[in-house]
C-alpha cells in the first residue's frame, strides 16, 4: 500500500475500507453474528448470563443479546478498566458476565484489571473480543497482534481462538459450561462458515485433525485454520500432501494431539497463527516439542515483531504472509 501513491497503475487500489473490514473472502459462505445469536440461545436456558460492553455492543454482536434481553445488558460506557472490574463484581454475586470489547483494549488497556479482579480471584467471567490479531487495517491501535501471548501468560485463564461461525456458536455454550475465566477471540458481522463441512464439533481443550497429508503438518488456530485448509487444497494440486491440525484452545493446549501428529516422521511442521510469532501458538507448540524430545523440521507463519501497517486487509495479509496464497507459497518454498 505504501507504494500506491507513487505511480498511478492499472492495478485496483484497495482501500482500508473500515476499521472493521470483513475477513470473509468474496463469494465465501457466511453466517451473521454467530456470537450474538449463540449468546441469546444460551441465555434462554441460563438465567445467570448477563452481557456487558464498553461502548462496542454493535461491534461485538452483543447488540443481538441486548435486543433479546434488554434488562440483562449492561452498557458500561467507553471504560474498559471499569468493564472488567464490574464484571468481576457481577460474577462475585453469582452471575456469568459475557464482557465484550476489542481485543486490543482488553489485552492492553485493561490487563491488570483482568489479571487481578478476574483471573486472580478466579471469577466466572467470559471475555469475548473482536478484532483479534490482524483483522483490522486501521493500524496498531486496533491490531491485537499480542493478545494470545498476554492471556496465555495469565494463570487461571482459558484462551480460545475460534475459526469460523460454526465454531463460535459452539464455543459459547462450551465456555459457559466451564467454570472460570475465559478469553475468546471473536469474529463478528458476516462471519465465514467453513468447518460445518468438516463434520467438526468444538470441544474445549481439544485439537482436531481436519485433514491428513504426508508432506507437511500445519498446526493452526483461528482464521489461519481456514487459510491452512484452503492452502492445503491448493497444495494438493501440486501433489503436496498437507495435514491440518486445528487447535482452537490455545490454553490449555491439547498436548496429546499435537505430540501425536508432530511425532509422525517425515513431515515438516508449520504453525500458522493470526498473531505475532512471539508468545502465541507457535512458541507454545515449539516449547512443547522441545520439552518432549520431538524434533521435526519446524517453521512459523505469523505476524512479525513490528508495528503493523495500516491499509486494506487483503494486502496486509499478503504482506505479512498470512493470506492463503502466501501460506501456500511459503510451504512450497520450505519443502523445496
Amino acid at each position: 500500500m505504501k507504494s500506491a501513491g507513487s505511480t498511478p497503475s492499472a492495478k485496483p487500489r484497495l482501500t482500508t475500507s473500515a476499521m472493521i473490514a470483513s475477513i470473509a473472502a468474496e463469494g465465501q459462505r457466511t453466517k451473521p453474528a454467530p456470537f450474538g445469536h449463540a449468546l441469546v440461545e444460551l441465555a434462554r436456558s441460563r438465567g445467570d448470563v448477563v452481557g456487558m460492553t464498553a461502548d462496542l455492543g454493535k461491534y461485538t454482536d452483543l447488540h443481538i443479546f441486548a435486543q433479546a434481553f434488554p434488562d440483562r445488558y449492561y452498557q458500561m460506557g467507553m471504560a474498559e478498566q471499569l468493564l472488567f472490574a464490574a464484571a468481576s463484581g457481577l460474577a462475585a454475586e453469582g452471575f456469568m458476565p459475557f464482557a465484550t470489547t476489542y481485543a486490543v483494549f482488553a489485552s492492553r488497556r485493561a490487563y491488570d484489571f483482568i489479571h487481578q479482579t478476574i483471573a486472580e480471584e478466579d471469577r466466572n467471567v467470559k471475555i469475548a473480543c473482536a478484532l483479534p490479531g490482524l483483522t483490522s487495517g486501521y493500524g496498531p491501535s486496533h491490531q491485537a497482534a499480542e493478545d494470545l501471548a498476554l492471556f496465555r501468560a495469565m494463570p487461571n485463564m482459558t484462551v480460545i481462538d475460534p475459526c469460523d461461525a460454526h465454531e463460535i456458536e459452539q464455543v459459547v455454550p462450551a465456555i459457559a459450561a466451564h467454570r472460570g475465566p475465559v478469553y475468546m477471540r471473536l469474529l463478528r458481522g458476516q462471519v465465514p462458515l467453513v468447518l460445518d463441512e468438516y463434520n467438526y464439533r468444538f470441544e474445549l481443550g481439544k485439537a482436531a485433525l481436519l485433514r491428513d497429508g504426508s508432506d507437511v503438518l500445519v498446526i493452526s488456530s483461528g482464521i489461519m485454520t481456514m487459510r491452512a485448509l484452503e492452502a492445503a487444497q491448493a497444495l494438493s494440486d501440486d501433489r503436496i500432501g498437507a495435514a491440518v491440525l486445528h487447535v482452537p484452545t490455545i490454553k490449555p493446549l491439547d498436548t496429546e494431539a499435537i505430540l501425536r501428529e508432530a511425532g509422525k516422521p517425515g513431515r515438516l511442521v508449520v504453525v500458522a497463527e493470526n498473531h505475532t510469532v512471539i508468545g502465541g501458538l507457535g512458541e507454545a507448540v515449539a516449547t512443547l516439542l522441545m520439552r518432549s524430545g520431538v524434533h521435526p523440521a519446524f517453521r512459523q507463519i505469523g505476524l512479525p515483531d513490528e508495528f503493523l501497517a495500516a491499509g486494506a486487509l487483503p494486502s496486509l495479509h499478503d504482506r505479512y504472509g498470512i493470506s492463503t496464497a502466501e501460506v501456500k507459497r511459503q510451504i512450497k518454498d520450505w519443502l523445496r
Binding site: 471499569l82 472490574a85 491488570d112 478466579d122
Partner: protein
C-alpha cells in the same frame, strides 16, 4: 445496627482501641508495615463493623451480609485487625501475619482470607468491583450494601473516576464508599503528588451524596454512616474521612515519612502502652 445493644457490649471506642491493638501486635510480628494507616482508619472500621454493617461472624459468606471491599490492599493489617475483633478471624492467627502459609498476607487477597471480599494491592480496583457487585445485588433484589474503603492516593488512578461516574450513572444507592484522606502516599503528601481538592465539590458534581468528617471522631463517623444509610436520593454515598496517620500513638503520629514505617523492637511495647494510656479518661 449490626450488633444488638447490650449493656455490657464493648463501646465503639473500645472496639477501635482493640483494632489498633491487634494491628500493633501484627506489626510487631513483622517489625514493620502499614501501621500508621491501620491506626488512622481504626475508628472508621470500628463504626463500619460494629455500628453500620450487617454480617454474621460465623458465616463470612452469608448471602445477606453487607460486603466490605478493601480497595487499598495494603490496609489489610487494619482490616484483619477488625475481622479479628469481629470474630471472623480467630485471634490466634494474629501471630501468623505475613508468614508463609498464613491466611493473613501483607496485601489483602480474596483467595486467602475469610471476610476479604477482593484482591487489592494494585490500587484503583475496588470501586469498579463495587459497581458490578451493586448491580448484581440489585438484580437479586438484595437489601445488602457494598461498603468500600479506598485511599486518597487512589484518586490518582483514572479507573477510580470511571467507577465514580458509573456508580452515579447507574444510581447505585447501595454503595457506601469511604475515602481515607490521610494525605500520605508512597512518595509523599498526597495533595502534592496529584491534587484532588476540592474533593467534596468534585464528588457532588459527579452525582454522589457526599459527607466530609473527621475520621478519628467516632461520633462524627457514626453520624456520617447513619446519614449515608438514611439518605433518600438514588445516589451512591461517599464519606470523605480526614484522618491522622498513626492516630492513638503520639510518637507515631509525629513521625515523618510514615507511609511504610519501621518500628524498632523496643518501640512496639511503647506503642501499645501509649495506646492504653490514651484510653484512660
Amino acid at each position: 445496627m449490626a450488633t444488638p445493644t447490650l449493656t455490657n457490649a464493648p463501646t465503639l471506642a473500645q472496639r477501635a482501641r482493640n483494632i489498633r491493638r491487634n494491628a500493633l501486635l501484627m506489626g510487631e510480628v513483622q517489625g514493620q508495615g502499614y501501621i500508621a494507616q491501620a491506626l488512622d482508619i481504626a475508628d472508621v472500621l470500628a463504626v463500619a463493623y460494629f455500628h453500620a454493617m450487617r454480617f454474621r461472624a460465623e458465616d463470612p459468606v452469608w448471602e445477606g451480609r453487607d460486603r466490605f471491599l478493601l480497595s487499598n490492599g495494603h490496609y489489610a493489617i487494619a482490616l484483619y485487625a477488625a475481622l479479628i475483633e469481629a470474630g471472623i478471624i480467630p485471634e490466634a492467627e494474629l501471630e501468623t501475619y505475613g508468614f508463609d502459609e498464613s491466611r493473613l498476607p501483607m496485601s489483602g487477597m480474596a483467595s486467602y482470607t475469610p471476610g476479604m471480599e477482593m484482591s487489592g494491592g494494585s490500587l484503583g480496583l475496588g470501586l469498579g468491583i463495587a459497581v458490578g457487585m451493586a448491580l448484581g445485588l440489585k438484580r437479586k433484589n438484595s437489601a445488602a450494601r457494598i461498603f468500600t474503603l479506598f485511599s486518597d492516593g487512589e484518586l490518582d488512578e483514572g479507573s477510580k473516576w470511571e467507577a465514580i461516574m458509573s456508580a452515579a450513572h447507574h444510581k447505585l444507592d447501595n454503595i457506601i464508599a469511604i475515602v481515607d484522606v490521610n494525605n500520605q502516599q508512597a512518595d509523599g503528601p498526597s495533595k502534592q503528588m496529584l491534587g484532588f481538592e476540592p474533593l467534596v465539590d468534585k464528588l457532588e458534581a459527579f452525582g454522589w451524596f457526599v459527607q466530609r468528617v473527621d475520621g478519628n471522631d467516632l461520633d462524627a463517623v457514626v453520624g456520617a454512616f447513619d446519614a449515608a444509610t438514611a439518605h433518600a436520593e438514588p445516589k451512591p454515598r461517599i464519606i470523605v474521612a480526614d484522618t491522622l496517620m498513626g492516630k492513638g500513638v503520639p510518637f507515631l503520629e509525629q513521625r515523618e515519612k510514615n507511609h511504610f514505617i519501621r518500628v524498632e523492637p523496643h518501640e512496639w511495647q511503647l506503642a501499645l502502652s501509649a495506646l492504653n494510656a490514651g484510653d484512660q479518661p
